[in-house]
């Protein structure tokens, strides 16, 4: 015998449960002939390398006013388009041709696609995209104090900060390099986990699973746009998706699987409140769908432990204490930078908005979130070209159709196979979460937060539906979907990143931060910083870096959830009042115009209140000005 160990037991693998097999209808002979050619691989990898090395002129100007900035940051947009399709066509072909026994090849190609589609801007900005400063200041604090920071934006949810700290310490990478690397690892993890999940969901069919991953990245606005950004809302779903793989093990009878599920749920509980809420809902709905069967006690225990852990952990959070409402609001991103003192004293609206006004506000916020009108800080005067709107709307309709199919399949919940029940539960949970966020927070933006979570569920549901049609129509439909995918890939890529000059932290913002850090040496008293919501995350990093042992007091305008112009003026003037009545600095920038542009569709500069505000501010000492941003000082 060649092996020193005797082969002990043989077990027939023939009776394995082989799920339904479906495949893309591309002529097999051609597929075999073409996929065996190494030149396709060479083209794909060369084009990917070329795209990653293509110089991108992200101007990093704070207000680069063009409706589709992604088109103008490439030195030569036409050449970039050619490179993109030179990469895309062979890559998609190879991905949909790889056999299951060579699944790793498919994963490599999918990672390439993910890195280019969702991670190109992370590479070009070297990690200064998403919420890097929020976590950078936390990591700096942890490295210096060996303790969790007490005044972090994610004070109750330090999961990502802890992971980044550990990664930085272990690898010895510099802070922002760590952030960039972890952002890219996020993409790799998403591709790998989703590929494995889709392989299970669609049968052991690597060709279709590969296409499903492509669809999950490109066809989901939230994933395609921000998968490569560093923020807790991208990190926690990564852990959540691992739960799905555990659910596919024999967890009902396996204590090991159950222990792992518990570990994963606890990790989600300390990483992101929104994802934890979603997971909680997801487990409840799974239970309702009979997934846990005999493990009902375990499910109840899991939910109980998870909720108790959340309450106890929040109670341990040093500054805020436990407040569900506060956590909900902070996690929703509505008032992410509001300190309690401000939110408690902000003037209430002088007149309550009507239902019609609120609905109009939600609609505007929702459209804005989708980049269908100007993005939050993109003050471009022109509206989107039609192709941008069409690209985004097309994939939204596809996602919505997947959600519809998922919700409809609730009817036959007990008769469906395991994977399909998980998909249905995932979609229904996201729908419930979106609806409850909309009604409890009254914020249109919140509607799109759960979009990330359905990425893993809608794609297989749609493909399964597609392949359950008649053979003749299946051929046309699958062909149409594949063509639409390839044809819309570049427009979608550009449309999702239409505000890309504004997403990374700009050189101006970094200069302002460095100025504050250098003029605020450690050992001084508390520095109070006043500014509008977008100002403080990065400024906090610089101020804390310069004076790590001092508490700093940041005051920002609340989330501006109002359809009322009078109230907006009140809030902005209220911030100036606070500044004038205490010592500190105030950052006045063009960001102050955004709420008016965004929520009311008006330009504040044509209002007399704007001039009054500017006159009032300019009466103070200006210690920094770059044309976009001014720092005012009050002794």
């Amino acid at each position: 015998m060649p092996s020193r160990f005797r082969v002990g037991y043989l077990q027939a693998a023939e009776d394995r449960d082989v799920p339904m097999k479906i495949s893309l209808h591309i002529h097999d002979a051609w597929r075999k002939r073409l996929s065996s050619l190494p030149w396709l691989w060479i083209i794909s990898i060369s084009a990917a390398t070329a795209i990653m090395l293509t110089p991108i002129q992200v101007s990093l100007d704070l207000f680069f006013s063009h409706p589709v900035q992604s088109m103008y940051v490439m030195r030569d947009p036409v050449a970039f388009g050619l490179e993109f399709y030179l990469f895309l066509v062979p890559t998609v072909f190879l991905i949909t041709s790889v056999k299951h026994s060579h699944a790793m090849k498919a994963v490599v190609l999918l990672v390439l696609f993910g890195v280019i589609f969702a991670g190109l801007w992370t590479i070009s900005s070297r990690g200064y995209i998403g919420e890097p400063f929020v976590f950078a200041s936390d990591v700096e604090y942890i490295t210096d104090h060996s303790r969790l920071p007490i005044d972090s934006q994610y004070r109750g949810y330090p999961g990502l900060s802890l992971f980044l700290s550990s990664f930085s310490l272990f690898t010895g990478l510099r802070l922002f390099d760590t952030i960039a690397v972890v952002s890219l690892i996020q993409i790799v993890a998403f591709v790998l986990i989703s590929y494995v999940f889709f392989s299970k969901a669609l049968g052991i069919n690597s060709k279709l699973a590969g296409f499903c991953v492509l669809l999950a990245i490109q066809g989901n606005w939230s994933v395609g746009k921000s998968l490569g950004y560093i923020h807790a809302g991208s990190f926690a779903p990564w852990i959540l998706f691992a739960t799905l793989l555990l659910l596919l093990t024999r967890f009902e009878s396996s204590a090991g699987s159950r222990s792992l599920i518990l570990v994963v749920v606890l990790a989600i509980a300390i990483s992101h409140f929104g994802t934890w809420t979603y997971t909680f809902l997801f487990l409840i709905i799974l239970s309702f769908m009979g997934l846990f069967g005999k493990a009902r006690k375990f499910t109840i225990g899991l939910l109980g432990i998870s909720a108790a852990f959340q309450v106890v952990w929040q109670a341990l959070s040093p500054t805020l204490g436990f407040s569900v409402v506060n956590t909900l609001v902070v996690t929703s991103g509505v008032t992410s930078s509001v300190t309690p003192s401000v939110s408690a004293t902000t003037p209430s609206p002088s007149t309550a908005p009507t239902v019609l006004e609120m609905l109009s506000l939600y609609g505007r916020q929702a459209l804005d979130r989708l980049s269908l009108v100007s993005e939050t800080t993109n003050l471009a005067p022109n509206r989107n070209p039609v192709w941008v709107t069409l690209s985004i709307v097309f994939w939204l309709i596809v996602t919505a159709y997947g959600c519809y199919l998922g919700v409809v399949s609730l009817r036959r919940r007990l008769r469906s196979p395991l994977v399909q029940r998980i998909e249905t539960a995932g979609i229904v949970s996201a729908t419930v979460l979106a609806a409850s966020l909309l009604f409890t927070l009254r914020f249109g933006d919140a509607l799109f937060r759960p979009l990330t979570y359905v990425a893993l569920f809608t794609s297989p549901v749609i493909l399964r539906r597609l392949f359950s049609t008649k053979v003749s129509s299946r051929r046309y439909l699958s062909g149409a979907l594949a063509i639409a995918f390839v044809f819309l890939s570049l427009p979608t890529f550009l449309a999702y990143n239409k505000d890309i000059s504004l997403m990374p932290y700009s050189s101006q913002e970094q200069s302002l931060g460095n100025f504050v850090a250098s003029s605020y040496p450690s050992g001084r008293d508390i520095l109070r910083v006043f500014g509008i919501t977008g100002t403080w995350p990065y400024l906090r990093y610089y101020v804390l870096t310069s004076s790590r042992n001092l508490p700093n007091d940041f005051l920002a305008i609340e989330g501006m959830r109002t359809a009322n112009e009078t109230n907006l003026w009140l809030q902005e003037n209220y911030l100036v009042d606070r500044f004038e009545n205490s010592s500190g600095i105030l950052v006045f920038s063009a960001l102050w115009r955004v709420p008016f542009e965004l929520y009311l569709g008006i330009s504040p500069e044509c209002r007399p209140e704007w001039e009054l505000l500017k006159t009032r501010l300019m009466s103070h000492t200006v210690i920094f000005s770059d044309g976009f941003q001014n720092i005012l000082w009050q002794s």
Partner: protein, 204 residues
């Protein structure tokens, strides 16, 4: 060079092997060989082993190692055929410790630290935990990789959170010690579990 003819057994032999394995879900290879040889007299041990391995590669048979009687746990750990993963895990942990504390943090040696540190954080804690808690799961390489990645990313923040409430806090030394200790303990536990399962003759 001598001429030689490789005689491939016909499909009947392969079918016989699969049918027998199906009818007797857990059968020793030696017993199976005896039955097959009764039916196909020309079958040699080498050809039988080759066919069984070929069927296993095609995923038509699942092979399961076993531990010969009298092998202690310590000796079992030294059998690289069954505990290669254990040796690799311990090796990577050792490499990580060496790169952090002994090697200079300068290019190009620092690249080793980047790689070893990333593997330890992104893969090792989850891998050993999955190995310990799911010893009987039929996970293929990709599934195991994906699960290890997900579980590692869940475990690292939890370890950091626990350290936050200890006198040592969240520092390089405390994280290295705790994660190394955790990984080695879990790996030993997983190896012990595999050892006991194989000795008891269960499939794993």
């Amino acid at each position: 060079m001598t001429d030689c003819t490789i005689l491939r057994p016909d499909d009947a032999v392969r079918k016989t092997i699969v049918n027998l394995a199906q009818s007797k879900p857990q059968i020793k290879a030696s017993d199976l060989y005896l039955i097959v040889r009764d039916l196909h007299k020309e079958m040699s041990v080498e050809t039988f082993v080759e066919e069984v391995r070929s069927l296993a590669n095609e995923r038509r048979l699942a092979l399961q190692e076993s531990v010969p009687r009298g092998i202690s746990f310590f000796k079992f750990l030294w059998r690289w055929q069954v505990s290669l993963w254990f040796d690799i895990v311990v090796g990577i942990l050792a490499l990580m410790v060496v790169t952090i504390y002994l090697l200079p943090n300068t290019y190009p040696l620092v690249v080793v630290r980047w790689v070893a540190g990333s593997i330890v954080l992104l893969f090792v804690p989850g891998f050993v935990t999955v190995k310990l808690l799911l010893p009987k799961e039929e996970l293929d390489d990709l599934e195991r990789l994906a699960l290890s990645l997900g579980v590692s990313v869940a475990l690292v923040p939890l370890v950091g959170l626990i350290l936050n409430f200890t006198p040592w806090g969240i520092g390089l030394d405390s994280i290295v010690v705790s994660l190394t200790f955790y990984a080695v303990a879990m790996a030993l536990g997983a190896a012990w579990r595999k050892y006991t399962i194989l000795r008891s003759g269960q499939s794993c």
